[in-house]
Amino acid sequence: MIAINNVSKWYGDFQVLTDCTTRVAKGEVVVVCGPSGSGKSTLIKCVNALEPFQKGSVVVNGIAVEDTKTNLPRLRAQVGMVFQHFELFPHMTITQNLTVAQIKVLGRGKEEALDKGLKLLDRVGLKSQADKFPGQLSGGQQQRVAIARALAMDPICMLFDEPTSALDPEMINEVLDVMVQLAREGMTMMCVTHEMGFARKVAHRVIFMDQGAIVEDATKDDFFGKPHSERAQNFLAKILQH
């Protein structure tokens, strides 16, 4: 589904990604973790070309994103993305947030889009909030709406860029619950997150990054059981202490 081949990226002279290679198969849940500044978010944004890269190739569902002939809007419409800061559109109601891209990008009718949007809103447990504005919801609620907004496009895979990092602790679980449910339904997911509990529960593979490179790419059991690299061992020891 997603193939990342030898991707390197520089900001000026500073290299942020070094020769990153990995795959995400259909139905697979892959968690990307690592210390801050290790390039996890940059890597996941390369998948839908929100971040350009100078070397290598990213192929999503058979289409190379770096190819200048690729119709990026069409490709991105098939790849759901959830951001750290939710990024709901604050000038639109929840309903409008859920339907605008369905109507403008997929060309769905208003009724159909609304129907789909409300169904997904119900699914993330926020049916009663349909007519509110994003600013009237809590962070956890906003992020659940953001997930519903991405799902409304019927994506072939979902990218999560630290979806719980900006949330108060008591709101993290309501978002993770939605993600776990999604994973169990067989959605292809690539998640940048520090939530190791989530990784244990549903991840098939865990990728560990450090200083722009993929240091460890292992099955969940291998990663939590016996990580190869010393760097990953240290990281795990630190974050699993509490």
Partner: protein
């Protein structure tokens, strides 16, 4: 002192009203045209292609560095020659029409800078979210960035428009009859400057003050809940 004679206003109110109408027309034209052209310039200034950026910057810097009254004169004198050169015919435009054009292109430079900073005030993540949903550049701007940016900019845009409203009085330089120009012409003839200019000042004050109250009201009405 003591012998103010305000009958001069009553006697000439029709002429003054005509002038005021012209002032309002130039203001509205330059506001709408200036904001449209200014939006285009702002987007060019933020474009990734350097020739677009350069062109917009040159335009904006040029008009912001030249006194308005000089631009009014220059356009009035040069535009007919230019049109004659292009079409081969002499097209009389007149001072009145020339001002519509001048104010639109001049104000666009100021509006452009307001709009540029308005666009830049919207977090980058908003545009990223638009692109991630499959929006094109123009959809992302139209549906996501500009609606938010204009809400943020509205007070400054209207304040600029109030300044524009007052600046229309500079058309005296080419003999067009705006509100101030009308008052000026009556004064030259009837020699009642104190009564006339006082009245004009009061009208300007009342209209501008009302506009600035409107700005405050709109600001509270369309604020985005955050």
């Amino acid at each position: 002192m003591g012998d103010f004679d305000f009958s001069i206003i009553a006697a000439n109110w029709r002429f003054l009203a005509e002038g005021l109408r012209y002032t309002v027309q130039v203001t509205l034209t330059a506001m709408v045209g200036g904001i449209l052209l200014g939006t285009l310039l702002a987007l060019m200034r933020l474009a990734s292609l350097w020739p677009l950026r350069w062109l917009a910057a040159a335009y904006i810097n040029f008009f912001r560095s030249v006194p308005l009254v000089q631009v009014i004169l220059a356009v009035y004198l040069i535009l007919p020659l230019l049109l004659q050169f292009l079409t081969g015919r002499l097209i009389p435009i007149g001072a009145d029409n020339s001002a519509y054009f001048t104010f639109t292109i001049f104000e666009a430079a100021y509006y452009a800078e307001i709009i540029r900073s308005g666009i830049q005030s919207i977090p980058r993540g908003q545009a990223a979210a638009g692109y991630a949903l499959g929006f094109t550049y123009s959809q992302t701007m139209r549906l996501v960035v500009l609606p938010q940016a204009f809400r943020n900019m509205l007070p400054v845009l209207l304040t600029q428009t109030i300044v524009l409203f007052q600046d229309v009085s500079l058309v005296y330089a080419i003999g067009a009859t705006d509100f101030f120009g009308a008052a000026d012409k009556i004064t030259q003839r009837d020699l009642r400057p104190v009564e006339m200019y006082t009245t004009v000042a009061v009208v300007y004050f009342v209209l501008c003050f009302a506009l600035s109250r409107l700005v405050k009201y709109l600001q509270s009405r369309i604020a985005i809940i955050r």
